[in-house]
């Protein structure tokens, strides 16, 4: 199918798609940023445009990437009539709009839930549980790291050689104590209480690291938007 296009370049005598796109993007960016002042009609307008466009985008992607190649073409052109079953199940989902017939949507939901529960069991088993347990099977003591510590001259070299020696023991202690913290079958008192408290410390370090990482990624996005406004739109910086 021939795509609908906006003519690129003023030389063609048409609408310059790049310039128009930059102005549209800049206007929408400023509209969203206006929320920093307060919730206002311009922000609300942009917000609703965003919801509408995002919803339309998802439907178009599903139509062209799933419905046409996985259902329509094999069914109509390929004669795979068994695909009438998922087609019918998919249509049954829309019975949610009718209170009397809504129970029929459960068949389609059950097919989805059953399949994805199967995927989840396999994925969690192979991707997370076994992989993470295997990655945790490390020696407590690393002779190479200890040798590096002995040869370290001092300063940063010594600090990082010491951290390398502590790497494996801390990884094991951190994992075991974190698992103790998530063990709720016994009250966290005595030895278990101490271990779970150390687990909390590791969790706090992890949450702090995740928080710092998230802040920096958001700041990076902010810099990207400001760079777009000052460079692509206004041309103030090169």
């Amino acid at each position: 199918m021939r795509p609908l296009t906006i003519a690129a370049g003023a030389a063609s005598g048409g609408l310059d798609g790049h310039v128009l796109g930059t102005w549209v993007a800049a206007a929408l960016t400023l509209a969203i940023f206006s929320f920093l002042y307060k919730d206002n009609p311009v922000y609300k307008l942009a917000e609703h445009i965003f919801i509408g466009v995002s919803a339309g985008y998802v439907v178009c992607l599903e139509y062209w990437n799933v419905f046409v190649p996985n259902l329509w073409n094999p069914l109509v052109s390929g004669g795979e009539f068994i695909l009438v079953v998922p087609f019918a199940l998919g249509l049954l989902l829309f019975t949610r709009f009718s209170p009397r017939a809504a129970w029929l949507s459960r068949w389609a939901i059950a097919a989805m839930v059953g399949s994805y529960a199967g995927f989840a069991v396999i994925g969690a088993l192979q991707g997370d549980l076994i992989a993470q347990v295997r990655a945790a099977m490390i020696p407590v003591y690393s002779a190479d790291a200890a040798a590096s510590l002995g040869a370290a001259a001092g300063g940063n070299d010594y600090v990082f050689a010491l951290l390398a020696v502590l790497q494996n023991p801390l990884t094991i202690i951190g994992l075991v104590t974190t698992l103790f913290y998530f063990f709720f079958s016994r009250e966290h008192r005595g030895g278990l209480g101490m271990a779970s408290r150390v687990g909390i410390w590791f969790l706090m370090i992890s949450f702090g690291a995740s928080f710092g990482y998230t802040v920096m990624s958001r700041v990076s996005l902010l810099i990207g938007r400001l760079h777009f406004l000052l460079s692509d739109w206004l041309g103030v910086i090169r």
Partner: protein
């Protein structure tokens, strides 16, 4: 019909996926592949159902002149416009759909997320008070990770970027690994309960 059939469907679909992992024989692998494709197709319909619900609720608000109805008109127009462009003209690169994505959706999405930089900073100002060992650890780690990712951090201490990496790879990874193992065990048990029909909350009420 209302409860038993869905439970049987979920059992067959789920067991096919699990059995096909342990026995890749065509007797299991073939039907599992078919079921996988069916699940993808039904999920696509579920996305459409979600969007249809947004349209239905928004149209209802416009019809009754409810709160913010003018914005719902904008929402419906944006939705209709994007659907028209994408369904009629295709989603190929360089087309109008691609232009709308690059110049309307992407800028708004990244600006929305970048707004969080301001709110996360104000939230941190209120929440980050080192009142306990745990809060202090969280605060110190967050500050180190933030400083370790910017040039000024390296100016303060040349080893800070490497120390940040060590934090990410050792104590952070140890705790993350514990969370992942716990979450995997939870996902496996919940998945099995759904497949075996012990967990039926996804069916909604019994009506």
């Amino acid at each position: 019909m209302k409860t038993e059939v869905p439970v049987v469907i979920a059992f067959v679909a789920g067991m096919l996926m699990i059995v096909s992992l342990f026995s890749p024989h065509p007797v299991f692998a073939g039907p599992a592949a078919v079921m996988r494709n069916w699940a993808i197709v039904i999920t696509a319909f579920a996305y459409v159902l979600g969007v249809a619900n947004i349209a239905r609720i928004s149209a209802g608000t416009v019809r009754t002149r409810g709160r913010d109805w003018r914005y719902k008109v904008v929402l419906l127009a944006s939705l209709g416009g994007m659907l028209g462009i994408g369904l009629a003209g295709g989603i190929q690169g360089g087309g109008l759909f691609d232009w709308s994505y690059m110049n309307v959706m992407v800028p708004m999405q990244s600006t929305m997320f970048s707004l969080l930089a301001f709110f996360i900073a104000s939230a941190a100002y209120r929440a980050f008070r080192a009142r306990s060992v745990e809060a202090t650890l969280l605060l110190v780690t967050a500050v180190i990770v933030m400083l370790g990712r910017v040039p000024v951090g390296e100016r303060l201490w040349s080893g800070l970027p490497a120390f940040t990496e060590w934090i990410m790879e050792v104590p952070n990874m140890a705790a993350k690994r514990g969370i992942m193992i716990g979450a995997a065990l939870g996902a496996i048990s919940t998945g099995l309960k759904m497949i075996l029909g012990l967990e039926r909350s996804y069916l909604g009420s019994d009506k």
